[in-house]
């Protein structure tokens, strides 16, 4: 073996918080790289502030720095650790950009640090658009025709030469940020100026309308051995970002010469750069003549490479890390067959489909239109033996309200006598369902192709599903379903629920009938070589296109663990951390864990982690199929809300549940039952009532007094939560959401307590006795969703009696429910002084919560390890309480830049896409490090203040004085400015936009004259959310986000931030690793 000598300590850069365009896939690739390094006994130093990741665990790396992945911090870590090498390719664009900047600053030379893998020169060739074009054209290969512009003036200059439509692309950006399609001159100028505010150069490029989009994943070793691991084809043609597109692997519509010509080009390009490790190359392919263009090369692990790894079983990140260490491909083993080596191209004998998951409903106000920018927050992958089977499986995996490609709307309209109106074919998340709808009602595929450019091959597959559906509907008129039809339906990917609906049967009746007929899905193994060599790993999926199972039932101690499903707002990498830790712990206890999950961006779906991996949809039907075969008990409390809900759905089935039984879970999930329990235990809760009628709602709200919090039924998964301050606001809410408020889906109204502190209690209990717990305090007051709040551990402002009361209350609840396993309780605390306080329970969950990785890492106690021991029936000793000599703070990361019309303000509904956590000796140090980790830059000395309401102004007064003292140049809107003057603080007055005078606030922000914006809204401003008016507050917030200027919208955190600035300059923030903090704990 020939790895490079002299590498003992390597620094690995992570990607920070999960955000749109940079999500869990980099936890997966970083973890794999860490695994590859550890096998070589290389010490791994990881920089990643994302506390919820698996890679930030001592199981994976030797040392962790929860610090910003920015040149300043990384340089200081390098100076301290003196590593031999650095890896830039495993932490997405964040790590790559940081690496390029370090290189520019000559840091690698200064510290004699070797950049492992692809050299910087090659990265530059792929990142700089002009350099890239030249490189490709010099090889005699084709790129889209385009012009580079560095200013609006240059754009103007070429306006005559442009044939529309054209695409505007911003260099050096993640997920196509700042890109867009211009069909005319007006669009061109608008998009160009936006993009130029983000990057120094843009590309105006020929728009390859309706060309196919194809990607290849390529690996190369230092000896110039190259191969392509996988190719993928986008369902949606060019114009829709590949992260926004449904993707199929392998390509379906390419001939041998198209497939292999593009493959050869990929190899030619990669050799010329040259890459050492992994990269991805994207093509456009003309569907009319096979002409091609090379769109881009990503010289790093990417979302696509994570997908390709999962799609093929070829561990790209692991291999890339080994290649970066100097190995040749033929020296690395094939981890699946364990008989062959890594120099081979996987042959698939199945079809893989990825579908992105969007959250347009959560981000009210955004239009759900897909384009060249990424907006999706997660994705699912499904595997089948036909496109139809995999596609419908993937749709169910999304955890949205679709049972398959046949929408409820189509189901409802099948019996409609009146004329059907075809759905429009705009690129939205619902387009595939609309295509099915239109095909069902006879719209010719040619018409759909013309409008969408989606290849006929894909339209024919949907047509096939539709025709099976039609056949079933017809058959249902004559009574029962025939055996052949049932088999056909299952082979086409229909669920028992869907079939039941057609034949007026319950899904369990369908299941029973199926089993009677022997229609049972078979277990299939992914072996990377299409059966040519036996696989030694258990990477599995289920299919109805098989006669036999590929594996035998496990006989050892098996335990099934349900993962978290697709990443979405409110359920993300933190649950993967929980699921993976449950797997690792059960392994250590001698069990053979079986992981079931459907998210390709996770570590839990790495077939190396569990003993068996079922890459499958998280539906009760599929869980039952797997349990029928494996006969294993299930853990449902470590994967977030999806498994928790499954527990309720599986309640009546013959399944062994480890930990809390579904009946107990129901006692907490069901609001009435839980409320009754709290009353019985004499525990206080906010007054609430379930209502369906507007007048009752107004009456009740007046009785308890405004403001009130409105929550729709949990059936709608917490969407459309809202705070009403007045009767009018409440009435408006009813008008807007009348369609979703009815006796089946009532709303819950509760008293909204202003200024109350919110507290998260995370714990693990065994037989009702608390084993370990953590109490974290939110910096923001109630009214900000707990997922969007900044969490502090230990608490920083709560009174001792309030803490004691929460401790006792939690104990009581745990005992009353005899809780076994992880749980979380949320409290509201009003404690003005030690004697005068109130503690209210808002809600509880009998499962691991979002904050489990955070509290585990701050306390240095792995809560999931303990919980898993409890779930598996091991006696667990109570953990001693730990007094921390430091603070840990978890702050949210928002992806507002990507969501063009969203109001970037914190509210009761969650909006953040990820989180980071840092440590400090006080909350200010910890907070400053954390907020800098989310992409905020340490501000230069100028700030804009726009403080709504008297209360807001007063709450921020001391902070403003502080800014003033620090020498900040202050700009303020009218009333704020007047208010400051009264208090002896001078500020420059600026107009609001609606005052229609210059200079206005937005100009100031866009021209980057301010480096910090504090905008506190009064209630009228928040009302915009519902009335859809564009307020000044909205314009200020939006401009700040779009110009990448730190924005604060809550007085609580603004105060903490300003104090932090006063106390800490950037150089004063300590560079301490996680273990340095943990070892300082005394207990």
């Amino acid at each position: 073996m020939t790895r490079d000598k002299g590498l003992e300590k390597v620094i690995l850069l992570g990607s920070g918080a999960l955000k749109i365009g940079e999500a869990g896939e980099f936890d997966y690739s970083g973890s794999q790289a860490a695994k590859a390094l550890k096998e070589e006994k290389i010490q791994v130093i990881l920089v990643n502030p994302n506390v919820a990741t698996i890679q930030t665990s001592p199981d994976f790396v030797d040392k962790i720095y929860f610090l910003p992945v920015t040149p300043d911090f990384v340089e200081r870590i390098i100076a301290k650790e003196k590593p031999d090498g650095i890896m830039l390719g495993f932490g997405g664009q964040t790590a790559l950009n940081c690496g390029l900047e370090l290189h520019k600053r000559n840091i690698f030379k200064k510290y004699n640090l070797k950049v492992l893998g692809t050299p910087i020169s090659a990265i530059n060739k792929t990142e700089d658009r002009l350099l890239f074009r030249n490189t490709i054209q010099n090889l005699g290969l084709r790129v889209p025709k385009s012009v580079l512009c560095k200013s609006l003036k240059e754009v103007e200059k070429i306006r005559e030469r442009i044939t529309y439509p054209v695409i505007i692309r911003a260099g050096f950006s993640l997920g196509g940020l700042g890109s867009g399609l211009a069909r005319n001159y007006k669009d061109l100028i608008l998009l160009s100026s936006n993009a130029l505010s983000l990057t120094p150069q843009i590309l105006i490029e020929e728009y390859l309308e309706h060309w196919k989009e194809i990607e290849y994943e390529v690996v190369r070793d230092k000896d110039d051995n190259v191969l392509t691991v996988c190719n993928m084809e986008n369902f949606d043609p060019m114009g829709i970002h590949t992260g926004e597109s449904i993707v199929v692997a392998p390509s379906q519509t390419l001939t041998n010469s198209e497939y292999h010509d593009l493959r050869s080009i990929a190899i030619k390009v990669i050799k010329s750069l040259p890459i050492i490790g992994e990269c991805n190359i994207q093509y456009a392919l003309n569907p009319k003549n096979g002409d091609y263009r090379i769109i881009e090369v990503n010289a790093r692990l990417s979302r696509s490479s994570a997908l390709a790894s999962k799609a093929t079983g070829y561990p790209l990140a692991y291999i890339a890390a080994k290649l970066a260490l100097g190995y040749r491909l033929s020296e690395i083993r094939n981890k699946v067959t364990k008989a062959t080596n890594a120099f081979f191209e996987p042959a698939l004998d199945y079809v893989v489909i990825k579908i992105p998951r969007w959250e347009f409903l959560k981000f009210k106000g955004t239009e759900g239109r897909l384009g060249s920018e990424m907006q999706s927050v997660g994705e699912v992958m499904a595997i089948g033996r036909t496109f139809e089977e995999a596609f419908q499986k993937a749709i169910r995996s999304l955890d949205i309200e679709y049972e398959g490609i046949i929408s409820e709307e189509l189901e409802a309209d099948t019996n409609k006598r009146t004329e059907i109106e075809f759905k429009n074919m705009d690129p939205t998340p619902s387009r595939p369902y609309n295509i099915a709808y239109n095909l069902y009602f006879g719209q010719p595929p040619e018409r759909i192709y013309k409008e969408t450019g989606i290849d006929f091959w894909f339209l024919e597959r949907i047509q096939k599903i539709v025709s099976v559906y039609k056949q079933l509907v017809n058959e249902s008129k004559n009574g029962r379903v025939k055996k052949e039809s049932l088999l056909k339906a299952k082979k086409s990917g229909f669920s028992d629920i869907q079939i039941g609906k057609i034949f007026n049967m319950s899904h369990s009746q369908v299941r029973k009938l199926r089993k009677k007929y022997g229609i049972i899905p078979k277990i299939c193994q992914i072996d990377t070589l299409a059966g040519e060599f036996p696989a030694k790993t258990n990477y599995l999926y289920l299919s109805y296109h098989r006669d036999t199972n590929d594996i035998l039932r496990g006989t050892d101690k098996q335990v099934g663990i349900i993962g978290g499903g697709p990443y979405q707002i409110g359920s993300s990498v933190e649950f993967d951390w929980c699921a993976v830790n449950a797997v690792l712990t059960s392994k250590k206890l001698g069990y053979k864990p079986i992981m079931i999950n459907c998210n390709p961006e996770t570590v839990s779906t790495d077939y190396d982690i569990s003993s068996k991996l079922y890459f499958e949809e998280l539906t009760s039907e599929r869980i039952l199929d797997i349990v029928d075969f494996e006969k294993c008990p299930l853990i449902l409390s470590v994967g977030g809300q999806i498994p928790n809900t499954l527990a309720l759905a599986l309640n009546k089935e013959k399944i062994r549940f480890l930990g809390n039984q579904p009946d107990t879970i129901d006692k907490v999930e069901n609001r009435e039952k839980f409320s009754a329990l709290l009353d019985k235990l004499n525990i206080a809760q906010p007054i609430w009532r379930r209502l369906t009628n507007k007048n009752e709602a107004v009456q009740f709200s007046e009785d308890i007094g405004y403001p009130v919090l409105i929550r729709p039924s949990y059936v709608l998964s917490g969407k459309a939560m809202y705070v009403a301050y007045t009767n009018e606001m409440l009435e408006e809410y009813f008008e807007r959401f009348s369609a979703i408020i009815n006796p089946v889906y009532p709303i819950v109204i509760s008293k909204f307590i202003r200024g109350a502190k919110e507290v998260d209690y995370d714990g693990v209990a065994q037989n009702g006795k608390i084993v370990v717990y953590a109490i974290s305090e939110h910096i923001e007051h109630a009214g900000v969703h707990s997922g969007d709040a900044s969490l502090v551990l230990p608490t920083f402002s709560l009174s001792a009696p309030a803490i004691e009361e929460m401790r006792l209350t939690s104990k009581k609840i745990a005992k009353a429910l005899s809780i076994n396993g992880p749980f979380n309780i949320q409290y509201l605390v009003s404690d003005h002084d030690d004697r005068n306080f109130r503690v209210l329970v808002i809600e509880a969950n009998l499962r691991a919560s979002r904050s489990f990785p955070f509290v585990s890492k701050v306390l240095g106690i792995n809560f999931i390890q303990l919980a898993t021991k409890v779930l598996l029936g091991r006696k667990v000793k109570q953990e001693k309480f730990r007094t921390l000599p430091f603070y840990g703070i978890k702050v949210p990361h928002f992806s507002f830049t990507r969501l063009r019309q969203v109001d970037p303000i914190l509210r009761v509904e969650m909006a953040s896409t990820g989180e980071v956590a840092c440590f400090g000796k006080d909350i200010y140090e910890a907070y400053l490090k954390s907020i800098l980790s989310t992409g905020f830059s340490y501000p230069d000395k100028s700030a804009l203040l726009s403080l709504g309401g008297t209360e807001g102004k007063e709450r921020l007064l001391s902070a403003v004085k502080n800014l003033n003292k620090m020498g900040f140049y202050l700009y303020a809107t009218k009333k704020t400015s007047e208010f400051l003057k009264i208090h002896g603080i001078s500020s420059t007055f600026v107009y609001k936009v609606h005052e229609r005078k210059k200079p206005n606030v937005v100009d100031l922000i866009v021209q980057k004259k301010v480096h910090l914006v504090i905008n506190l809204s009064d209630k009228n401003d928040i009302g915009e959310d519902i009335s859809k008016e564009v307020t000044d507050g909205y314009l200020i917030r939006r401009a700040s986000v779009d110009s990448n200027i730190p924005l604060f919208t809550k007085a609580t955190i603004a105060n903490v931030f300003v104090t932090a600035l006063a106390k800490y300059s950037i150089g004063k923030l300590s560079i301490k690793s996680w273990d340095e903090y943990i070892s300082s704990i005394k207990y």
Partner: protein, 361 residues
Amino acid sequence: MGKKGYLVLENGKIFEGISFGYKKEVSGEVVFNTGMVGYPESLTDPSYYGQILTFTYPLIGNYGVPPLTHKNNIFDYIESDKIQIRALIVSSYIANNSHWQSKEYFSSWLVSQKVPALDGIDTRTLTKILRTTGVMKGILTFNKPQNNEGLNFYDINKENLAPYVSCKKKMTYGNGKNRILFIDCGVKYNQIKELLKYDTTIIRVPWNYDPFRVLSNLDFDAVFISNGPGDPRNMPETVDTIKEAIKREIPIFGICLGHQLLSLAAGGEIFKLKYGHRGQNQPVVNQIDHKCYITSQNHGFAVSNEHIPPGWFNWFTNLNDDTNEGLHHKILPIFSVQFHPEAAPGPTDTDWLFKYFISKI
């Protein structure tokens, strides 16, 4: 819905599927191919003559059938004049005719060429049977069989298959400087196309043509031996011709069956692989410079690495199972490879071998 059809294996295992090809009973050797694209090329590859082919990739027919056009008797998009396989077995037949190159549905091509085909077969289970017990004889029938008794399984390995696929008379292509005697044992057209990219004249002759007999009077600078079906040990005439060429120190390049024939002529040995190499992802390593290549392959027999004749060396090795993938004379420009540098279907990473050959003439 199509008619039901059955695949009966020699060991008694019966698969039921739906016909999407021609309806007639056939017998042949059942083999699997792991390529994910290139079914028109594979089906017309004469090396599959006498075989019932199954693809491990489950969706076949995705881009219809390319134009069956030809220039100078060489087809543009397929590898010989017709479909060569006995029958086809797939998991799902996809009826599509929307690809810009497609001229007809795959199914109608199979019917017009009288080739039976079944879909709806669990091809992974079939593949696993072939992998564990080795390739075996099979019958595709439309009469529901009870078991394998009384069925007449045809053994392709006993017979010399070259006469079925080789050309019948001498043909010449090109008018270049390098005159290549091209021994056609069942050639894939792309081999001829690759050689014609250089300054060559290709003299294509039947498998048993003797260029050295007095009356032949043929003038050539090098010999090329093509791929083809069956056991090379059934072709002593061709082996004798190659022996003579070696003796005369003429540059020789052999591919696939051509590689096996050259090895026999050089004194090597041949054995039958359990389930062969058929696919587009076979990794090989060049023993001279240790460079690795992904290759396209289609062979059931292999050259024994234990019996490399003196004066020759093992040129390429398969990285999966260490079998022989190439032979090279230690001094003379005489060499051959087991894999298919002409690809079609498959990766083109080793097309440099044609250039190498021409440079040695």
